[in-house]
């Protein structure tokens, strides 16, 4: 079985341009020429047996794509953060509240929030992603309908909240009450899925920097989510991205918001501990 999977990987990774593009580039990212982003740093301790250095996906993109994230006006994701702000101020639900009713301005109340999610919610007794927490607020405090997990409204709100933490290091906790979930996520990361028998690690740990057809494989870091992709010209929610990846191994995927993806998000986020929060980032 292992040989078969290796053949599949070899077939996918046409190595023609790999000699010239085998590594992340050397560019550095400063947003609007002033907000410096950490796109390369030492891997967190829990990864030390697998990787020495972690890189933002930004470093694997072409110059034209990189440029789109270097200026907040050129970044199309920012218009969705603006739409998120409209949603933030809108009263919805039976409690007659908006996000602003409790949280004031996002600039004050949401700084640092994106950097530490997913995290343990003591009251609920569960690990919550940022999307779950947004919906928790909507259903519990506003008595409003939850957003669909990967909807435009959800990614707009995630973008608004992420912007407040841009440049801060991702810093998710992996022990204590979240440890079991983190272990479950790690298990999924290294499990081969689908007819192609590919795990997350096969592409994003073993082969980052190589070409998968015409695409330059990144480490699959999620510090830039929600991510504006040129491919579909919209903000992409991280669980929707996971789904796309697993689908392309020709597997049945987990659902957005499922316990499996919550665990995977916690684990993958922790692989990026130390990189800057970039959301909304721009990728191909």
């Amino acid at each position: 079985m292992k040989f078969k999977a290796m053949t599949a990987v070899a077939a996918l990774l046409l190595s023609v341009p790999a000699m010239t593009l085998a590594d992340p580039d050397e560019d550095s990212l400063a947003i609007n020429g002033e907000l410096d982003m950490v796109t390369e740093t030492a891997a967190p301790a829990h990864l030390s047996d697998a990787l020495d250095t972690i890189y933002s996906g930004w470093r694997f993109r072409e110059d034209e794509t990189q440029a789109l994230q270097m200026d907040d006006f050129d970044n199309p994701g920012m218009v969705f953060a603006d739409l998120g702000l409209d949603q933030w101020n809108k009263v919805e639900g039976e409690a007659g509240k908006s996000c602003a009713s409790c949280h004031g301005t996002p600039e004050e109340s949401m700084k640092g929030v994106r950097a530490v999610y997913p995290k343990w919610n003591e009251t609920a007794g569960e690990v919550r992603t940022l999307a779950m927490q947004i919906n928790g607020c909507r259903t519990e405090n506003m008595k409003a309908e939850p957003y669909k997990y990967t909807s435009g409204q959800m990614t707009n709100m995630e973008a608004l909240i992420s912007v407040q933490s841009r440049g801060m290091p991702v810093d998710v906790v992996i022990d204590g009450p979240v440890q079991a979930t983190w272990e479950a996520g790690k298990e999924i990361y290294y499990t081969r899925f689908g007819q192609l028998e590919l795990s997350c690690a096969n592409c994003h740990e073993d082969n980052y920097g190589n070409m998968i057809r015409a695409d330059h494989l990144s480490q699959g870091q999620i510090n830039g989510f929600p991510t504006y992709r040129l491919k579909n010209a919209k903000l992409n929610q991280v669980h929707a991205r996971f789904k796309g990846c697993i689908r392309d191994t020709r597997a049945h995927t987990f659902e957005a918001g499922s316990p499996e993806f919550v665990a995977l998000e916690l684990y993958v986020a922790s692989r990026g501990n130390g990189l800057s929060v970039e959301g909304p980032s721009v990728r191909n």
Binding site: L12, A214, G244
Partner: protein
Amino acid sequence: MDFTRRDTLALGMGAVALTVLPFRANAAADDAIAAFTGGAAMADAGVTLTAPEIAENGNTVPISVEAEGAVSIMVLAAGNPTPGVATFTFGEMSGAHSASTRIRLAGTQDVIAIAKMADGSFAKASSNVKVTIGGCGG
């Protein structure tokens, strides 16, 4: 019929000849150009088209055009199902006669910019953009 080695070689040469015929936009692009220029000759200099050599995704390709003294600039993507992209008409309060936008390209093809000058003459520039197909499509 049986192909001899020489026949096959000749066929191959014919195919090569076909592929090196001078560049021609498709019929719809030709029509759009004719409608814009009225069939007038186009100079090779006077308009600048900037486009990436390789586009990471054909859905969002940054391009810019500039033509000093132009009244308007038409941009075409000859290989798209419909070749029209945009026509920029510069007004009295325009600064440099330049503009940038992001366009969709259905595949590797030539992007064409034609400038109409204030004196009624035309200039043309074209740029080949290679559109790559993503990895696994996720």
